[in-house]
């Protein structure tokens, strides 16, 4: 074992052995994978031999005779290859890798079980005789969901590596406390500025005294000896005091600057202590790629670019599973087998690239291959087969919208599952994991050329970029990952729709909620403002608006977890401290979105009920639209205007309603499943009972031929969906059927 200056003196020997095994495993696996393509590479043979030799020695120290025997057998085989007696073969590499796996999995145990013992014997036999190694128990790739929660008490381990870097084992909690103290030291050095200001105040007082003295001195100095003397003494003392003050001010300034620099460096060092290069995962990816490719009889090469990109170790740990899943998918679904590739004129060895880049606190990971690309037709077929959407809608979906279906739980293009993919679980896990890290993922593909998964993640879980906002008298933070916009609006821009304040932003109707009300915190009394500061954020593809007191700017916040005794705090994700010592509560956007939705619904329902109480013999309108948002908006506008509204979700539903109930007006969309708007209007006009019901068509389609067709089938008005921001819709309704109670 290399004698580094690692502080492992308090660890039991078995634990130290486990650390040693992990380090040697990295070396061995890396060397063996290279030897697969270059079996006579003396450098890699030497590396593998040294790793086996070190393991043998270490195992002897901890009385693990089983591992001693296995490591010895591995060492002997490699030495034979080094001497040129037997070139190392694919079978040998399989057996050596399997042997390494057994050593790693049992390093922390007291011994091996019977199955492992049998495996060791088989491996040794294969190595001695050049046989094909077949494992006793087949290795199953684990697709089960991994808990996204991190264990804050997990020990962070650094292994001694061949570069003779010295490492120290530090508990994760310890690092968190260090980070807290470093943060506090920044706060304390910042407080020097307040002391400096007080000294400035001292100077002002001093100058005041000097001026007063100067004003009385000339008139008295001629005749009053003692007074003149006293004034002179005071002036001297003042001068000395000023010199001292100036000295003190300079000293404090120097200490403050120096302190600030050191605190900032301490803070950065502690933060960077959590960072690891992404190449830490390289070895496990290489091995996994090799194993899966071998199992599927494919030839694959894996390249990692940007391997020195630093990532928070927590993020890195969480990334391992999703990246492995994407690699499995790429090999299984994406890459063709060697014969197919040759037939297509491609290199028979498929290429997968992982490209990592850190920019402005964001990690950008691209995983792409040169395979067949994403099968969009397959996705469409699966969507229709599972009744997830209609044929018409599917035909209109963009590629990006179709790719989104791949991340749905249980969604797979494959009819049968293999060991590696096809259960519809893998990409769902990827999506969940990336979301739990506050990241996002997008897919792009070109048929016949390959597919790419692009992940955007915060580089550190410890630090998050957020917008600071004032709500009530306190400070909150909004994660930038969910923020759509921070806007200032005039109060007059806000419309009241069924008791819910609503704004139009980018042609979308967005409900607003007051921040202090949403969070149930006390708001100080303020004068009515003429403008509003509004946060627009998104959650689950919906947008919401939160009225705040003010914006304070963007900040990188070091996250502190909520006291675990709370369990889960509603609307709260975590906390942080600013460099000024101010506490910031980081908001949970998904919770907040749910909260706002509930508040909006309650307000709407309350308003509807009160409306119904007042109005009698209202005119009834049937609103038919397959879009929930449009339907609800139309309904609210009409209810607000005093009408009674019934809704239908598509043309067929609309016809059912129309034919069985009495309505004064039909408002319908055009593009709908089961029966489109043209068909619905035609049917209504052909029926004796409904032919006289006036019709308004509301559609996104603005072409003249659509308008003409709408009017030809019998519609009385043809409006576009952009007309909701003004009164034209309600005006058209009243124009056709009059006021509410006429």
């Amino acid at each position: 074992m290399k004698a580094g200056s690692s502080d492992m003196s308090d660890l039991p020997l078995t634990e130290i052995f486990a650390i040693e095994v992990e380090a040697q495993r990295e070396v061995m696996n890396s060397a063996l994978i290279t030897l697969e393509t270059t079996p006579t590479s003396s450098k890699h043979l030497e590396q593998a031999m040294r790793a086996a030799h070190s393991l043998k020695g270490a195992a002897r120290l901890v009385n693990r005779d089983d591992i001693v025997a296995l490591a010895h057998g591995m060492e002997e085989r490699i030495i034979a290859a080094q001497s040129g007696c037997r070139i190392i073969s694919q079978n040998d590499i399989d057996a050596l890798l399997a042997g390494m796996d057994i050593i790693a999995s049992t390093a922390a145990e007291l011994g091996v079980n019977d199955i492992q013992k049998a495996s060791i014997e088989k491996i040794l036999e294969c190595l001695a005789n050049g046989l094909v190694y077949q494992p006793s128990v087949s290795k199953i790739v684990d697709d089960s969901p991994v808990n996204a929660d991190t264990n804050s008490t997990e020990v962070s381990v650094e292994c001694v590596n061949a570069d003779s870097q010295s490492y120290l084992r530090v508990e994760a909690d310890h690092m968190n406390r260090l980070l807290g103290l470093a943060s506090e030291s920044l706060v304390q050095t910042n407080s020097f500025s307040a002391t400096t200001k007080k000294i400035e105040e001292l100077k002002r007082l001093h100058d005041q005294i000097s001026n007063l003295l100067s004003s009385i001195a000339p008139s008295k100095s001629e005749t009053d000896g003692p007074l003149r003397y006293a004034i002179k003494e005071i002036s001297c003392s003042l001068e000395k005091a000023e010199l001292k003050r100036a000295e003190l001010a300079e000293e404090i300034e120097n200490h403050s600057s120096r302190g600030a620099v050191i605190s900032q460096r301490l803070y950065s060092e502690v933060l960077s202590g959590r960072m690891r290069p992404i190449s830490d995962l390289h070895s496990s990816f290489m091995k996994m790629t090799r194993d899966v490719a071998r199992a599927l009889d494919k030839k694959v090469t894996l390249e990692l670019r940007g391997q020195h990109t630093l990532v928070d170790r927590e993020v890195l740990k969480q990334l391992e599973t999703p990246i492995q899943q994407m690699l499995r998918n790429a090999i299984d679904h994406g890459l063709e087998n060697p014969e197919e590739r040759r037939a297509l004129g491609k290199n028979e060895v498929g290429r997968i690239t992982i490209e990592a880049r850190g920019t402005n606190k964001t990690l950008i990971l691209k995983i792409y291959d040169d395979g067949r690309g994403v099968d969009l037709e397959g996705i469409k077929s699966k969507i229709l087969a599972r009744n997830l959407s209609t044929e018409e809608l599917v035909s209109k979906m963009t590629d990006a919208e179709l790719y989104e279906f791949m991340f749905l739980p249980g969604f797979s293009i494959r009819d049968t599952a293999s060991e590696f993919s096809g259960r519809g679980v893998g990409l769902d896990i990827v999506h969940s994991k990336i979301r739990s890290l506050n990241g996002n993922i997008k897919v792009s593909s070109k048929v016949g050329e390959g597919a790419m998964f692009e992940l955007h993640l915060p580089i550190s879980r410890s630090v998050t970029k957020a917008l600071l906002i004032d709500i009530g008298a306190s400070l909150y933070a909004f994660p930038l990952a969910n923020l759509v916009a921070a806007v200032r609006l005039q109060v007059s821009d806000v419309r009241d729709i069924c008791g819910v304040p609503t704004i139009t932003w980018n042609n979308e109707q967005i409900s607003l909620v007051d921040g202090a009300t949403a969070l149930d915190v006390t708001a100080p009394e303020t004068n009515a403002a003429s403008d509003l500061a509004v946060i627009i954020f998104k959650s689950q593809n919906e947008k919401y608006g939160l009225i705040v007191n003010d914006f304070r700017g963007q900040e990188d916040l070091v996250i502190q977890n909520v006291d675990p005794r709370f369990g889960r705090l509603r609307d709260v994700s975590a906390m942080a401290l600013l460099h000024t010592g101010e506490i910031v509560v980081i908001l949970n956007c998904d919770d907040l979105a749910l909260n706002i939705s509930k508040m909006s619904q309650v307000a709407g329902v309350t308003s509807i009920k009160s409306e119904i109480k007042v109005k009698k013999a209202q005119k009834r309108i049937l609103v038919v639209d397959d879009s929930i948002t449009v339907r609800e908006l139309e309904r609210k506008l009409l209810i607000n205007a005093g009408f009674e509204v019934q809704i239908a979700v598509d043309g067929a539903d609309g016809w059912n309603e129309l034919s069985s109930n009495k309505f004064d007006l039909l408002v319908t969309d055009l593009d709908m499943p089961r029966m489109n708007g043209f068909e619905l209007v035609k049917m209504a006009k052909m029926n004796d009972r409904t032919k006289n019901i006036p019709v308004i068509i509301i559609s996104y389609k603005e072409r003249d031929e659509d308008r003409l067709k709408g009017l030809e089938v019998g519609a009385d008005y043809y409006l576009t969906k952009g007309s909701f921001h003004d009164e034209s819709f309600v005006t058209a309704v009243k124009d056709l059927i009059g006021e509410v109670n006429e």
């Binding site: 969070l519 915190v521 006291d563 506490i583």
Partner: protein
């Protein structure tokens, strides 16, 4: 046996004994019946808590409200030593009178307590003293004393002419922990 060197002078046995004796000697014999108590007050009522439970005493900093917990006993946050902790309304638990958040930002102290490696704090009007008190001087609680909700008071004693109720530390910590729910 090698002779240890102290400041480049050999450390003789005689010197070693002399130094050890002066370090081990205390002013008075250790009294296992005297306890260090942190005395604090809510308005005009005085209470004490075993100092072994007290981690730190700080002036009240600016408190941050916790969303949706205005009416609970854990409604605010404070920071100390680079960490953020919860402020528990022990005043409400003991006296039945809720602390008004705005009052807490003016003056007083926060007593930071530690229970099983978890920190929290409670705001008081004043930490009066940290005093060693003889257990023998504790008297039983009078029947007419204010009921301490879910808390056990082990007795009362006199300090500086005032009557102080001594809270049982373990049950106080338990109540503080329970207030998070």
């Amino acid at each position: 046996m090698s002779i240890a060197k102290l400041l480049n002078r050999p450390l003789t046995d005689e010197l070693l004994h002399e130094r050890s004796a002066s370090v081990s000697e205390s002013d008075r014999p250790y009294d296992s019946e005297r306890r260090s108590l942190t005395i604090f007050r809510f308005s005009e009522e005085f209470f004490a808590l075993g100092s072994e439970f007290v981690s730190k005493i700080i002036p009240i900093p600016k408190l941050h409200p916790i969303p949706h917990r205005l009416s609970s006993d854990t409604s605010a946050l404070f920071s100390v030593d680079g960490a953020v902790y919860v402020c528990v309304d022990l005043r409400r638990i003991i006296t039945g009178k809720r602390s008004i958040y705005s009052q807490l930002t003016s003056k007083g102290n926060i007593v930071v307590v530690k229970n099983k490696s978890l920190f929290s704090g409670f705001a008081v009007d004043e930490v009066c003293n940290i005093q060693r008190v003889s257990v023998n001087k504790l008297a039983g609680l009078p029947a007419t004393s204010v009921s301490l909700e879910n808390l056990t008071a082990v007795g009362i004693f006199e300090w500086d002419g005032k009557l102080v109720s001594l809270l049982d530390g373990k049950s106080t910590m338990k109540v503080i922990g329970g207030s998070f729910q």
